[in-house]
């Protein structure tokens, strides 16, 4: 069985929000209708987004580091938002594991948003239906697009390739290998939602230098220094080097 998902590498995410804008652009222009925005250039802008890049500071000054953290629907394997939906508008596709909302059936009761511990669902304040990441379901199967572009808009946009897309149930897929080899983890594992999306941890390239590595014991200069100087009058090529 297929379970499409994103794998997000926190080690290379630079927090540029290209995935956010690309997601918004693609998903506000599709046949499912616009994504609401109010006061986009005003004092109190608000709107519906499928994807947000958040920033956290880990540690205490001066030993802090900044972590950029893209957050979207995790397409849980056991999604708590689906069984609570009274109309069946919220559903998980059997064929590829994408969790979707049928905007024509949604009554806008917010119950699924209450049931999502990640805050991945946002109501559209104008269309009054619940919206969330679709993994660009209207893009990834589009035969009119070149095969290399049949990826979610956020993945296409990421300048550092921090976002990988693929089938996490296929052990040989790029995403499965990344999770396996690079310590991919799930968010809030305590709730048993089994998110399909995974995050790759930040890695430090630490160069450990021991004091004895700062001096070279086989330094040729020192070796030279230990050689007996040629006696004056001995034949030498340049008056320095002995035979």
């Amino acid at each position: 069985m297929t379970q499409l998902a994103l794998v997000i590498d926190l080690n290379v995410c630079v927090g540029c929000h290209a995935c956010v804008t690309s997601c918004k652009q693609w998903n506000t222009s599709g046949e499912a209708g616009y994504l609401s925005d109010d006061n986009p250039y005003g004092a109190d802008p608000t709107g519906t987004f499928f994807n947000r890049v958040q920033t956290f500071e880990v540690g205490e000054f001066p030993k802090t580091e900044t972590v950029h953290f893209p957050k979207s629907c995790l397409h849980c394997e056991d999604p708590p938002c689906v069984p609570v939906c009274p109309t069946g508008a919220s559903y998980k596709r059997a064929e590829d594991g994408i969790v979707l909302v049928d905007y024509d059936k949604c009554i806008g009761c917010n119950y699924c948003a209450w049931a999502c511990p990640y805050g991945a669902r946002e109501i559209d304040e104008h269309q009054k239906v619940m919206k969330k990441c679709t993994l660009c379901v209207d893009r990834i199967y589009d035969q009119a697009l070149p095969e290399a572009e049949r990826k979610p808009a956020c993945v296409m946009a990421c300048p550092t390739s921090a976002r990988l897309f693929g089938d996490v149930h296929d052990p040989e897929s790029e995403v499965s290998r990344a999770i396996r080899d690079r310590g991919g983890y799930a968010l809030m594992p305590e709730w048993g939602t089994q998110p399909a999306n995974h995050y790759l941890p930040r890695r430090k390239a630490v160069a450990e230098i021991h004091p004895d590595e700062l001096t070279r014991h086989d330094n040729p200069l020192k070796v030279d220094g230990q050689l007996p100087r040629p006696a004056p009058g001995e034949p030498a090529l340049d008056d320095v080097t002995s035979w």
Partner: protein
């Protein structure tokens, strides 16, 4: 969580209507109240339920699609509630009619028994809507369902006492006594849930939310310059003093003050109606606090705007 007034009104009004029906049926079972009292009571109960139902529609973005919400009764407590509520209302209406038209007592008792089953089913559905969400730890307890049942019964019996003071005064003191007992029980279970929730430790932390093992993580930006649905729906947005005041208000209004009236003015309609009004106001505060107290784990992701 942000307290949703539509839901607060629905749960309190429907709860009172359900309790009122149970009070009528109890009198029917034991004391044989006159049929016109039962019919009038059923009409009032239906009115409360209908008002609650109307309030609940304001919670929906698309009320015209509300009929769809009966679909997923296999998995969703909300869907089950949507089915049980009209069934219960229909049963109460038929129950009232059998009394108004003076049908055979056995028929109305049979219908009343069916309505009682539906009544408790509705209580359980309403409570489980909240108690079934595992990560809203404040709600994830059988006490949630128990409190919905106990407060519904208490307010319904208080309403029945007020109604009886007008229509059938002989019953008023008995209803007042029952309302006292039920109100006291509801108060105790609510205190129990308050004590339980005060000792809760959140299972989710920022470390599990973003998967970075460090005790000190601070959010710098949440990915939006202004607010979003996530900042509006999951935060009550009131200062701590308001939440605390709501707790003290409901702790005073929901039982102690009405209890004085119920205990010492068991035959006066004005006093009994005041008891119901005070208790209902307390229930509004109680339900408001019920929402405000619940801390959704998604709030971990929405702690700073920058």
């Amino acid at each position: 969580m942000r307290p949703a007034w539509s839901v607060i009104l629905f749960t309190t009004l429907a709860g009172a209507g359900q309790g009122l029906f149970l009070a009528l049926f109890a009198a029917d079972l034991f004391a044989r109240a006159p049929p016109d009292f039962a019919a009038a009571g059923a009409a009032v109960a239906l009115g409360l339920l209908a008002a609650g139902l109307a309030a609940s529609f304001f919670h929906l973005g698309h009320p015209e699609r509300a009929w769809r919400s009966a679909a997923m009764w296999r998995t969703s407590w909300l869907s089950r509630e949507v089915i049980v509520l009209p069934a219960f209302m229909a049963a109460v209406a038929v129950y009232g009619l059998t009394h108004a038209l003076s049908y055979d007592r056995n028929i109305s008792l049979l219908i009343g028994a069916a309505a009682t089953v539906l009544c408790f089913a509705l209580f359980v559905c309403t409570g489980m809507i909240y108690a079934c969400l595992p990560f809203l730890q404040e709600w994830r307890t059988p006490l949630t369902v128990v409190n919905f049942i106990a407060f519904g019964c208490a307010s319904g019996f208080t309403a029945a006492a007020a109604l009886a003071a007008v229509r059938y005064p002989a019953l008023a003191p008995r209803y007042a006594l029952a309302a006292l007992v039920l109100g006291g029980a509801a108060y105790l279970t609510r205190l129990a849930s308050l004590a339980r929730n005060a000792r809760l430790r959140p299972k989710s932390t920022l470390a599990t939310a973003i998967g970075i093992k460090h005790p000190k993580i601070v959010q710098i930006a949440q990915g939006a310059m202004g607010g979003s649905f996530n900042t509006r729906e999951f935060f009550h947005g009131r200062p701590r003093e308001v939440v605390r005041a709501a707790r003290w208000a409901f702790l005073a209004l929901v039982f102690p003050l009405p209890a004085l009236l119920l205990a010492f003015a068991q035959n006066s309609f004005a006093a009994l109606f005041a008891a119901f009004a005070l208790q209902y106001a307390g229930l509004l505060a109680e339900r408001w606090y019920f929402f405000a107290e619940a801390k959704h784990p998604q709030n971990l992701y929405y702690q700073a705007i920058a």
